[in-house]
Symmetry: C2
Subunit: 220 residues, 2 copies
DNA sequence: ACTCCTTTTCTACATCTGTAGAAGCGGCAT
DNA sequence: ATGCCGCTTCTACAGATGTAGAAAAGGAGT
């Protein structure tokens, strides 16, 4: 049985994905979930409570996905991939496929998440619930450590930030002209290529060609 | 003299940065700009018009910055840097400094922009106004072409997406624990390092180690 | 049947929001 | 002065929204 809480928060996610945070109202959620008017308001008396539940639901769904090993597809590799550490290309392929999934089936959740992250800017308590990709972050760090990155923690954070950026730009339809349409092997390949480049870059130890920290300047 | 339009749209940007799109109401803009109630409503009769003006203002401000050569600072290099093509580290340093500026002085604009990009998801007309980083995109492509990237257009798009991601994560305070505080040389150095890694990765021609497009699978 | 409790549904209401039109005001040509 | 015109300010109003409490429905135990 699906709890009423799940019904409400799922409808809320869909709403936010479709209309943005502004569309998230008690009554709109009721309508969207085909529940009698007032239901959402009864379950979450304040709007703040509703948003927090929404964010919590996002976190829960992610946790569930991660636990389930995700991606039982015929066409794409599993995620998370085994962390052999050296097989960066395999990881890249799997990550590309995962990203492409976020663009298709997971589109609503991805959009809602970005909206919530932005919201967390002015509501710090949301950040704690969202954890802000803590799982991905941990995983990325472990992966880069295994791959022998110089500063795995730092590199891991850069990695998830960049991957988030790739996803966000695709979601927003930024490079709609150049990027292949989501859900296609081309899309997965393109994303995988970008991720692969990232991985190779971040696991390369700094050479004389790499950037040296700028000299510190005393300021007024 | 500052036109009233600028006063209004600037206030709108600040509002969106502070409270999100939801905080953007005619009356709130009036209050924020210390204008008599009803002014914003008179200038932009509908909310849609107000948002479009806001987005237009963002685009104009960016254009102005770009034209002015931006960054007349004592401490940080100029942007855009000269496109020598080969001096990737110089470009990385300049870009890192620019990003750090977006995190400090440009914070409001950056936040407002992301909110608008998200908004453009359900309001396509906004995308045309925003141009969605067209300038950066063009520049990135040119730069990567000059640096001898294999597929400069593709790589350029990946580059701006990743850089956007770095900025977004910092804005959202994602890696607040690991990332150095904005406005410091450390912050600039960290960002420059990440950008540098990206640049080096994206200009490297694909080797046997790089990802090969996945084999196509016929699907039901 | 009756009571007690939780869950669900409905209703009320003060406030906010979008939008439009009216009123006020300053200048400028006649 | 008079009338006209654009800009500015004020006001009205229908509808949406957040929030809370009342009413109804359902079920478990006696």
């Amino acid at each position: 049985m699906v709890t009423r809480y799940a019904v409400i928060t799922d409808a809320a996610i869909a709403l936010v994905a479709e209309q943005g945070m502004r569309g998230l109202t008690h009554r709109a959620v009721d309508a969207r979930a085909a529940l009698p008017t007032g239901t959402t308001s009864a379950y979450y008396r304040t709007r703040k409570a509703l948003i927090e539940a929404l964010v919590q639901r996002l976190a829960d769904l992610d946790a569930a996905d991660l636990a389930a090993g995700s991606l039982p597809s015929d066409d794409v590799p599993a995620y998370p991939p085994k962390l052999t550490g050296a097989d960066l290309d395999g990881i890249a392929a799997a990550t590309g496929a995962l990203l492409d999934r976020w663009l298709t089936e997971g589109r609503d959740r991805a959009l809602a998440r970005y909206a919530c992250v932005l919201e967390a800017t002015h509501h710090p308590e949301l950040r704690d619930i969202l954890g802000h990709g803590a799982a991905s972050r941990v995983q990325a760090r472990a992966m880069l450590a295994a791959a022998g990155a110089a500063d795995p923690d730092r590199a891991g954070d850069h990695f998830v930030a960049c991957v988030d950026g790739l996803l966000f730009d695709r979601l927003a339809g930024a490079g709609a002209l150049t990027a292949p349409p989501p859900g296609t092997p081309e899309s997965r390949a393109d994303l995988a290529a970008a991720v692969g480049a990232l991985l190779h870059a971040l696991t390369t130890r700094p050479s004389r060609n790499q950037h040296k920290p700028e000299r510190r300047v005393t300021r007024g």
